[in-house]
Amino acid sequence: MDFKQLLKKDFIILDGAMGTMLQAAGLEAGGIPELLNITDPELIEGIHKKYIEAGSDIVYANTFGANRYKLKNHSVDEIIGAGIAIAKRACNGKALAALDIGPIGQLLEPTGTLKFEEAYDIFKEQIIAGRDADVIVFETMTDLYELKAAVLAARENSDKPILCTMTFEENQRTFTGCCISSMALTLNGLGVDAMGINCSLGPEQLAPLCDELLNWTDIPVILKPNAGLPDPATNKYDVLPGDFAGQMKTAAEHGVKIFGGCCGTTPDYIRELKKVLSETKPVKRTAQKRAAICSPSRTVVINQPRIIGERINPTGKKLFKEALRNNDMGYILNQAIEQTHAGADILDVNVGLPEIDEKDMMVRAIKELQGITDVPLQIDSTIPEVLEAALRAYNGKPIVNSVNGEEKSMETVLPLVKKYGASVVGLTLDQNGIPSKAEERFAIAQRILKRAQEYGIPKEDVYIDCLTLTASAEQEAVMETLKALKRVKDELGLKTVLGVSNISFGLPNRPTINQNFLTMALTYGLDLPIINPNADAMTGAVRAYKLLTNIDKNSAEYIAAYNDMGKPKPTVTDNSKDISLSYAIENGLKEESAKATAKMLETCDSMEVVNDTLIPALDKAGELFEKGKIFLPQLILTAGAAQAAFGVIREKMLAADSAPVSKGKVVLATVKGDIHDIGKNIVKVLLENYGYDVIDLGKDVPCETVVEAAIEHKVKLVGLSALMTTTLKSMEDTIKLLRENNVDCKVVVGGAVLTPEYAEQIGADFYAKDAKETVDIAKQIVG
């Protein structure tokens, strides 16, 4: 018997809780239950047998937490191997033994510190150890990213069927914010064999969540609830076996196929479940097919025009290129924040620049972006290796931009799209270039769709870009693009994408052309305009279109976006127009500070503004802070306002091709093991304000990375921060390693638990009690 054969049955029955049974047998809370596979195999086998006798078709081996992190000094291979052997013995051909894998027990970055790649390795070790199991189960997952690492590890190291269940709270989100639709889209894409919901609540509370899931997937759905809710004082669960089974019947009638029990359930629950299901008729399911993509916490359905923000792309942008060369991730993240605020539904991410390692940069950008935004991403690169690395690192279901009609492109890109379960943009061009006529572009679209389907990519995941040509050069081609777009939409039933801004290249008053072309394209059926959402006219055109076509019901979105238009913005002071830069900085007024700077730059030279106004204002704030006249919050507000001013100056200087003068470089890092980095980030802003280039290595930084950066950038000063007594050791190790490598630099340390004495003891050159003092030290050392 295998899982495929089991699927022919009306319903499949899993087992109930293992932990509950073990606790009843005397296991103490907090112990490692998997060790019993070695110390008391009969106990475990006995429990499996009870479940099989009660009616389980699949039992979960006692391997839930058997990973290298939780097992500490025990061998994963040994414990899992024993667990599977016990389960198989108990099954004796009458049921299937599942390799059961729960969460690792450490959160992945960016919330935690575990790297995606490390998580993959941990799961891989478990998968290999469980090679004798009949199926692989991942359960009780709350982080979609962790689950993705797990599924990839299973797919790439085994050919067993994969069953996945996640744990949701009553608000239909997991603890990390993952929603049901995002789980469904992502797991569908990764090609698992069944998915569902387990733990947290009883069958009654999970019923609406199940219905939501059934609506998003057509693969078999699993429900493995708790026996109700535990009493906080006694920890006893409140739903009895008969009621439990009764409530599960409803789920069966709605289309759930695979059933079991989680915390608090016992063989009695499974027996009742078996009885009830034997009297229940399965229903035929019809899940709606939707074009949709997602991040863990946000699903974007392409059932109306959705804006793809185009700004994360260095083409023609000096500041962006500069940021890429300097590894300045903050710049890219700010582009994301700006665009989502302006109304982007999806963000295109292109970080291609000849002189940088695009693959490395792309993976970093994806990871950082998904740490701060929940807008789904469109991965934009011409290099397949970059696409694959990004697809691996992406958390959710992204769009791949792009494939084209050339066979070579299709045979390299489409398998990646299939493997990682993404959507893909197909460009209507091939080895012969862009056809001039709509018919030919339509033919290429047809070809791309056909090939995509041959690779197993569903039709709704193929979006076609009929390509915008420049009106000034090829005026007659404009309508060909739109005609092709309409045919793709109407005849192939595919979603359409179009980069819009190209249309006006070489013409005066480009915004007018862009806006009108966008509106025309929307009426021809454009679903995914790629635009600059910060341009009001463009976002406005999409919003107006949605209102006029009755998509935006009751004009709600439109009103929400423009209701405040024309109303005066509340500001701290009434005469914001005439606020001086020094006043704005002293009072921590960010926007006013930027405005005042722009105004000053009309008449003054950049360096004049810096030396005569900005630095004196900062010095004054520093002095007041030292004297205890102002406190930390105001000092930071001042720094923030100055930062805004420097942003304006920097932009102006780069535009004029005069690079800002740097006082020298400083490396900053929050040491290995520590993730409290807000203090370090405050220091960074202050140092930057004073003209230092900060090489910010981030948090949880290994000693070696600090040493490498200090050598590579030849810095005179390294700043290290730690907030926990437990991570001071890493600080000491980092300093030691710097010294061992004879790095010619001074080290300044700071953080709540440090004292001047301790700083000296661990070999630091300076102790800084606050951000202001770090600047003083930098002045002394770097100049």
């Binding site: 907090g30 906080p232 921590g588 802003v685």
Partner: protein, 223 residues
């Protein structure tokens, strides 16, 4: 369930190191950050009561794998026959919001971080009250957390396992024994048949006393 309608802003300002009159810009920023934070926080708590036994190796928490080591926790639980273990958090979304804010506005992030710390304290005191109501005939000591005094922070992982905190409220521990989500608390409170003397609370038993920023400026963390 605990719901916060408001964050204790005075407390947050104290964490920020602010004293005296609050300037207008800061006041507005605090209000703005409070609003954003209240939208994303999801307070959650769990607690469980255990019998304890004093042994030479420390205080055994019966029917668990835990033994509390160190003199401070021993003093803290003096005369108590049972201990309540608790975990509280404001959830992972708050971390995300602070992270996002750090990118574009460091001052707002700083303010938000302090507000989030104040918020988790509020969750803890509400949970305290719920615990007190659960054991109306006994007296509850104040909360003592791993990492206080000589109560080893390394116990964090086993503590969370015993409480099944990952499954029940999404609370994890990262490297360096840092709780994740960041704005979270684990603590032990003793249950005693007789009133608990107040004397145990204060700087004397705090291992931060030497480096404490509050003490340096003649202030007190409120503990």
């Amino acid at each position: 369930m605990i719901v916060l309608d408001e964050i204790n802003k005075d407390e947050a300002l104290r964490y920020m190191g602010h004293r005296g009159e609050v300037p207008q810009a800061l006041k507005e920023l605090v209000l703005k950050c409070e609003k954003q934070l209240l939208e994303v926080i999801r307070p959650a708590y769990i607690f469980k009561c255990f019998d304890i036994e004093y042994t030479d190796g420390g205080i055994r928490v019966l029917n668990t794998s835990l033994t509390f080591k160190g003199n401070d926790i021993k003093n803290h639980l003096e005369d108590c026959s049972r201990a309540v273990l608790m975990c509280a958090t404001i959830g992972a979304e708050a971390d995300k919001l602070i992270r996002l804010t750090e990118i574009s506005d460091i001052s707002a992030a700083f303010v938000m971080d302090s507000l989030a710390s104040a918020a988790v304290e509020q969750v803890c005191s509400q949970a305290d009250n719920i615990i007190k109501d659960t054991f109306p005939t006994e007296f509850l000591t104040w909360r003592f957390s791993p990492g206080y005094g000589d109560f080893p922070i390394e116990i964090q992982r086993d503590f969370l396992d015993v409480m099944n905190a990952q499954k029940r409220i999404g609370l994890n521990v990262g490297s360096g024994n840092i709780l994740i989500p960041r704005k979270s608390v684990t603590a032990v409170a003793g249950l005693s048949r007789t009133p608990v003397p107040k004397k145990r609370r204060g700087c004397v038993c705090c291992n931060m006393a030497e480096v404490c920023q509050y003490r340096k400026r003649g202030d007190h963390c409120g503990f």
